[in-house]
Amino acid sequence: MSMAKDHEYNVQAGEPVGVVAAQSLGEPGTQMVLRTFHMTGVAATAIATSGLPRIIELLDAKKMPSSPLMRIRLKESYAKSFAKADEAAKKISEIKMSSVMRHIVENFSKGKILVVLNTQSLQAADLTARPIAARLGKELGVEAKVGEHGNIIVSTHTKNLKEVRAITVKITKAIVNGIEGAGRAMVVQDKNGDFYIESAGSNIEPVMQVEGVDPEKIYTNDLFSMYRVFGIEAARNTLALELRKTLEDQDISVNDRHISLIADAMTSGGTLQSIGRHGLVGKKESVFARAAFEETVKHLINAAAFGEVDHMRGVTENILVGKQIPLGTGSVKLVIKSKESKKK
């Protein structure tokens, strides 16, 4: 591309790009369906948050999306074989005790707990009692053995009622397989025939450690995970990508520059900032602009306490007092040299 062309696409100085971006995203928002559910694609993505609720979630920079999702690429040797990919997926896929347990019985006099497992759900999850017992023993620091009928007997070495009950609660909440928060993982094949894993949860740090996983190619729709692990640039790209995907999903076309600008604005501080009271708007320079948005009195009182000065450089505060806004036609000033300065 030539330099001349490059310049043709530049916006002019004083163009209110932020307002235009906000309108370009806000107007289609009014057309979007408020439904959360929609039925296409793979089982994991079938009930993913989409549409307006998802956009709001992104702009609010929520700590964890309401339907987290990981896409885990595998190392060469694992990606070519389904068996190996499945092996990796098994290590990730999160199964909770509650989903394989039938019921739990405590024997307080002996300090033992009997966990009766549901053989059907065990089979469905491709699990046996032995590894579960081993994991329980390791994680809870108790002695867990497999007894008759494939049940697990946990010896607590205590007869204290409270302590036994505390362990029971821990057992019911325990994770019997996979990584906490990783959700159910499934092996998927891409266009090139390579296998990778999709998972309906997000916890990328431990997933990276799993054998066979390519730690550089993990993607999650959780912005904060991406920020924590890969940095702010990755978080910016994830944000832009997720916004774009959500809009495309609803057949809404918004120019990429608007989306990029919003993602840039939200990450320009080096951290993820939401758009709202706790983020970008709440950190505006002008006291009046902040007071005009939300929590008017709080901002005014703080401004008074710290002796803040409003330099009237933004749009909102200038409209408020009735001045010409420093944007568009208001961004230029006429400067005439006075006769005195000419003489010099």
Partner: protein
């Protein structure tokens, strides 16, 4: 554990648990049998709710109930013999209820019923039969023809539009003082009626007219939902109506023996509107019938005692001060005083009611609707010579854009066009009751009649453009449709403002028609100007055309000061400086500064040259 309780089925009478029964189904049947025999009142309804395992008996008032014919053993209890007797008026409806042939069900008991639509549908399992299939609609909805040919939402919309139709709502309208009333000049009974319409005798209180309608565009003047009217038809009285509005006032009594008085206020009254405004009042202070009135004219002259006690004592004058509280014709209104009455309230105070009437000739901006949820606003009233005409010289009264039909699926509108046209040629009304005949049969019936009278079977006619005189390439679908003039009329709604009143608190323009207000330039509109970068246009809207205020601000301490006109100096009350600058700010900002001060915060304004 929970099972044991539910084995006993509780019986609730009017929402109160009264006891329990072992076999609820048998119990419920027993109650019903007793009701049908007349042992207990026919107003008792009983229902067994399976999900709750409860029996609910309701005898209280306020339940909506609907009659059904009872079916037993796959047969209707309303036998042929009974139907014949009913027809001959040997028996009446009451007989059927007393003898357990028809019964009323409430919402709860309906849940236990299995209702067949017609006699032909009845099986062993059915418990009831609809009295008539049309009873799935209400009275209002049943006045529309061919609802089964339209999409359901359109039928629903009709039911709300028909309530807005102008007609002859009461024949004694001349004696009534409705706060607002609309009387159609030449109401007509529709050519396509329904049984409900006839039995409600709505033809005696008709609320529409049979319009000759051509389904055609007209030079783009009926785009979207606009319609085009024929000027000649309008001049002959099409859709013409009278609008009545009643103004009233009362001579109120106040504590302390003071009271309002109807009279022409003396010029000394506070808030005196000027001699001219009262010129149409007679000696009693009230306007006379048949007087032309325009906006600003006083209809009822009234003086009231002052609002606050101090005012009446003030100035030391012997004469008690009074305040003008006359009723003035609202801005944008005009007409003729139709009638004036004096009455008395229960508190023995005099009441005056003045009814003003105004002619409402259809004009562009008025709203019309057919009986198929098809509404439109008049966009143009076309001179007769410019309207399309058919071979016989028929010129439509109204032209409807055909694009409005397919998307809304109101095929009943098309069928009515044909049906009414056939009815007009035959010289007899035709029936359009819901579900009474198959649509295709109706179509063929109408086709036969139309053909016999020399028309195209399906209503299409060669038409000529009134403007050029040339025939249109396509034939136009023309017929008759019953149209209603709805009570949304421009002349009652339109309003303009260039300058005008402002609010006392904010100094911003007022809102709303009654207060001669402007249209709000809101946040989103503001954002549009920001996005466009039109900074000066924005400033004009937000400041110059709104609440611009010039205030004096102290150059030294930044607080708001004032001008001492006597000494001809500007003064800052805080620092006693005389160096103040005139600054243009929005009054809203001045208010904000005041409010900040009320928070015990001292704002200071810095300025540059």
């Amino acid at each position: 554990m929970a099972k044991k309780i539910s084995e006993k089925c509780y019986v609730h009478l009017n929402g109160r648990a009264m006891g329990y029964v072992a076999d609820p189904l048998a119990y419920v049947e027993e109650v019903r049998a007793a009701r049908r025999k007349g042992v207990i009142s026919g107003e008792v309804n009983v229902a067994y709710l399976e999900k709750l395992n409860e029996v609910h008996i309701n005898t209280d008032r306020g339940r909506v109930r609907k009659p059904y014919v009872i079916a037993e053993g796959g047969k209707s209890k309303l036998t042929k013999e009974l139907a014949e007797k009913l027809e001959k008026k040997e028996i009446d409806f009451g007989y059927l209820i007393r003898n357990g042939i028809i019964e009323f069900l409430d919402a709860e008991e309906e849940e236990n019923a299995f209702v067949a639509m017609t006699d032909a549908d009845v099986t062993e399992k059915h418990t009831h039969i609809e009295v008539d299939p049309v009873s799935i609609f209400g009275f209002t909805a049943n006045t529309a023809p061919f609802p089964e040919m339209n999409s359901a939402p359109r039928h629903l919309m009709f039911a709300s539009y028909i309530k807005q139709a102008q007609g002859l709502y009461a024949t004694n309208f001349n004696l009534r003082f409705e706060s607002r009333a609309y009387i159609l000049f030449y109401p007509q009974a529709p050519l396509v009626t329904t049984t409900a319409y006839e039995s409600l005798h709505l033809d005696r209180h008709a609320s529409g007219q049979n319009f000759v309608v051509a389904l055609s565009t007209y030079y783009g003047y009926n785009m979207q939902d606009a319609v085009v009217l024929n000027k000649a038809a309008v001049d002959r009285g099409l859709g013409r109506s009278m609008f009545y509005k009643t103004y009233s006032d009362e001579e109120r009594r106040y504590p302390g023996g003071q009271k309002d008085i109807f009279k022409i206020p003396p010029a000394t009254t506070e808030g005196y509107l000027g001699e001219h405004a009262y010129s149409k009042l007679s000696e009693d202070g009230v306007i006379e019938p048949e007087m032309n009135v325009e906006e600003g004219d006083v209809l009822i002259g009234k003086v009231a005692p002052p609002r606050f006690l101090e005012e009446s004592i003030g100035a030391g004058g012997l004469e008690e001060k009074t305040r003008d509280d006359s009723v003035v014709l609202k801005p944008g209104e005009n007409g003729v005083v139709d009638d004036v009455i004096f009455t008395e309230s229960p508190g023995a105070t005099r009441i005056v009611k003045v009814r003003v009437r105004g002619l409402r000739v259809p004009e562009s901006g008025d709203k019309f609707g057919s009986r198929h949820g098809q509404k439109g606003v008049v966009a143009l009233v076309v001179p007769h010579e410019d309207m399309p005409f058919s071979e016989q010289g028929v010129v439509p009264d109204l032209m409807l854009n055909p694009h409005g039909i397919p998307g809304r699926m109101t095929f009943g509108h098309l069928l009515e066009t044909l049906g009414a046209k056939a009815a007009a040629m035959k010289g007899a009304k035709t029936d359009g009751t819901a579900f009474s005949q198959k649509g295709s049969e109706r179509l063929e019936d109408y086709a036969k009649i139309l053909e016999a009278h020399g028309f195209d079977k399906y209503g299409e006619e060669v038409m000529y453009d009134g403007v050029t005189g040339r025939p249109f390439k396509a034939k136009l679908f023309q017929g008759i449709v019953y149209y209603n003039r709805l009570h949304h009329m421009v002349s009652n709604k339109m309003q303009v403002r260039s300058r005008g009143t402002v609010q006392i608190l904010t100094h911003q323009p007022t809102e709303g028609k009654a207060r001669l207000g402007g249209l709000r330039f809101g946040e989103m509109e503001r954002d549009v100007l920001v996005a466009y970068g039109a900074s000066l246009l924005l400033k004009e809207r937000m400041l110059d055309q709104s609440d611009k205020a010039t205030v004096l601000i102290c150059k030294e301490c930044g607080s708001i000061g004032y001008r001492d006109y006597a000494k001809r100096v500007d003064v800052c009350p805080l620092c006693n400086s005389n160096k103040l600058a005139e600054v243009e700010i929005s009054y809203a900002f001045k208010l904000l500064l005041d409010e900040i001060k009320s928070l015990h915060i001292r704002p200071q304004v810095g300025m540059e040259e």
